[in-house]
């Protein structure tokens, strides 16, 4: 029974998606249903008790479905975000003639995203992951602008590379495990003689989705160009798929892998900082948010790294991870959707004010200001760090807050950009339709994150965030960040000028790479590709040539003419006769 419920979770968006190609009334109905497609998933995310894993032994290579504590939180996040984004998109694309196209990919992507969360075996996970990845391409390039197409190209290339890594890792993991079930996979990886290779592949493969440096290059390109609703789910929910992949399949918490842990922590920290720094140089608020996501994912990855290096820490760290993911997902979703709402405000001051206030609230939350979801999530996150490997906590203890300072500044710039450049850009008259889902999300984000640990009976209580020590820890980076912002604001107010003269183009390290690739790869040739000579074809051609050339002239070949001569034939007759006789005699 449960199995069919899980399948229903996937079948619902899928069915709606495949109503679209039929066109006409069915298509319109499908678009109306789009926001509700994730409702079954949302319902399935609510039970407090996780049920046993259900196996569909006829599906794929034997699929299993279910959720554990961590993934249920992901499911909650994902379902919520998709639902909100669905409502939002319904209005955002109201005037879009190609809304059906958006809806189709939106729903398919949703199916994939939900599927990978409820999948408990690597094949189903991978299948869903692939569905999500490839469908999301349609979202990325939806606008068909040159930027979008370029972003799509980078996105798909990176995605394919990621799939390659995953496939490699999966083969080896599944072989070693002798099963595709997640739990066996984790053991299998450890048992394998190539465990390092597997871990490397999985890290890289999922890392691409999670925006791990240096595999993040697609992210700042793709997230901003997608329609806002899509950006929200890309940055809020789908980016977590990579994270979930790590959590589900890497043997985190089962064995100490300090080497991998160190590597990941270094990468994550680089991500956390560079995301902020590069984000600061962006003019486009969505790009800025994308970089912020890279940075935030860096935070989470740090904890994963801790788990990798120190299995003991994982029990706590995993919860921190999940909570932080929940927080970040909802908040980032709200931020992205907010950008779209800001565009729609028109010249209405009230609307603008509302949007700015809403955005500021969630921005502060993202920065981790005390009493916000961010503060709680960060506290939960740090719990893990403290029991992490020796020596790490010292560094992380002050590096993470420093990053938080950066986030604060970044969010400051975001709000500033919105305020100065983005408000009232366009006027589609869909303000209300977009604003309501957004406000709901903003409104829900806090209670969901606060209540989740309570509801799911996690080992972390929201109250922790209100402990004085933690309160201070979460306060001072925000204060410093605020101070910096104040200084900057004061500077600008005094002499209006560009504070950050540097502009790092979105995609950062990709740019030189693209340049280099353009040098190497010749442009697409219009002429026929030269083919190496084919000896057999040449042989058949020359044989045909022999035929063709002798067809028009009526001359027999010299050889044939020669044989027809009587004296030649006679001599041959005589010779052969002689030789035959001699051979007969000579034995």
């Amino acid at each position: 029974m449960m199995l069919y419920l899980w399948l229903l979770v996937l079948a619902t968006p899928l069915t709606v998606a495949f109503m679209i190609p039929f066109g006409g009334a069915i298509r319109r109905r499908a678009i109306d249903l789009m926001p509700f497609a994730a409702i079954p998933a949302l319902i399935m995310a609510l039970p407090r008790e996780q049920t046993a894993i259900e196996v569909a032994d006829w599906l794929l290579l034997g699929s299993s479905f279910g959720v554990d504590q961590t993934s249920q939180i992901f499911l909650l996040l994902t379902a919520t975000l998709w639902t909100v984004a669905g409502f939002y998109a319904r209005y955002y694309h109201a005037d879009d003639v190609e809304i059906h196209r958006f809806a189709f990919f939106f729903l398919l992507t949703m199916t994939g995203n939900l599927g990978l969360i409820v999948a408990m075996d690597i094949v189903t996970f991978y299948a869903s992951f692939a569905l999500m990845t490839f469908s999301a391409y349609g979202l990325v390039v939806h606008t068909r602008s040159a930027k979008a197409l370029r972003a799509g190209k980078v996105y798909i290339v990176m995605a394919v590379i990621g799939e390659g890594f995953l496939l490699t890792g999966m083969f080896m993991a599944a072989y070693s495990a002798g099963s595709t079930q997640a739990e066996f996979i984790r053991e299998g990886i450890l048992d394998s003689q190539r465990s390092n290779l597997i871990i490397g592949c999985l890290l890289a493969g999922f890392g691409i989705k999670a925006g791990a440096i240096p595999l993040h290059v697609w992210l700042p390109l793709a997230h901003p160009v997608a329609p806002t609703a899509a950006s929200a789910v890309l940055s809020g929910a789908m980016i977590k798929a990579g994270l979930l992949g790590w959590i589900t399949f890497l043997p985190i918490g089962e064995a100490a892998l300090p080497g991998w842990g160190t590597l990941l922590v270094v990468i994550s920290l680089i991500a956390a900082f560079s995301g902020v720094l590069i984000g600061l140089t962006q003019d486009d608020p969505k790009t800025l948010l994308a970089y912020s996501s890279i940075s935030q994912m860096g935070f989470i990855a740090t904890v994963v790294a801790v788990g990798l290096a120190e299995p003991r820490a994982w029990g706590v760290a995993a919860i921190g991870c999940a909570l932080y993911a929940l927080h970040h997902g909802l908040i980032k979703g709200a931020l992205f959707l907010g950008v779209g709402v800001a565009h729609e405000t028109g010249n209405d001051r009230n609307r603008q004010r509302l949007v700015l206030i809403g955005l500021t609230v969630v921005a502060i939350a993202l920065a981790g200001a005390p009493l916000t979801t961010g503060a709680m999530a960060k506290t939960a996150l740090k719990e893990g760090v403290y029991i992490g490997p020796e020596g790490w906590s010292v560094w992380l203890d002050w590096l993470l807050p420093v990053a938080a300072i950066g986030t604060t500044v970044l969010m400051g710039r975001f709000i500033w950009l919105i305020w100065r450049h983005e408000l009232g850009h366009v006027e589609h008259g869909q303000y209300r339709g977009m604003m309501i889902p957004w406000i709901i999300l903003v409104g829900l984000a806090f209670p969901i994150v606060w209540l989740a640990p309570v509801w799911f009976q996690l080992d972390v209580s929201p109250a922790v965030a209100f402990e004085p020590g933690n309160l201070w820890t979460s306060t001072w980076p925000v204060l410093i960040g605020g101070a910096i912002l104040g200084v900057i604001w004061w500077q600008i107010a005094r002499t209006p000028r560009e504070i950050t003269p540097i502009r790092i183009p979105a995609g950062d390290v990709l740019i030189p790479l693209e340049w280099a690739l353009a040098r190497i790869r010749p442009p697409e040739p219009d002429e026929v590709v030269p083919r190496p000579p084919d000896p057999v074809a040449a042989l058949s051609a020359s044989w045909y040539g022999l035929f063709a050339e002798s067809q028009q002239g009526s001359r027999t070949s010299r050889l044939a003419g020669w044989f027809v001569r009587w004296d030649v034939a006679g001599l041959l007759f005589l010779t052969i006769g002689m030789v035959l006789i001699l051979f007969m005699l000579w034995r």
Binding site: G561, V564, W566, D567, G570, L574
Partner: protein, 104 residues
Amino acid sequence: MSEFLIYGLAAAALFAICLHGIITRTHILRKILALNMMGSAVFLLLITIAERNQVDGVADPVPHAMVLTGIVVAVSATAFALALARRYHAQTGHTELHDEDGST
């Protein structure tokens, strides 16, 4: 040198000479004649063998019969060849077999 050898070697020589004629002479008539005489060479050999095989003065009749049959066969073939040659000559004026005629 026995009688057998004389005739036998003569037959051999005749055969070889006729073969030479067939090869080197282009006139059809000569070829036909050479062939015919080639047959004669064989018949000569057969007769010689018949003589060699004689018992009580009776020569071996089987080679004799073979010769008689062979002659008729050879005559038939010769005559037919001559008829053809004449026809050929009448049609083309040639007295030799022109090589291209048949092969184009």
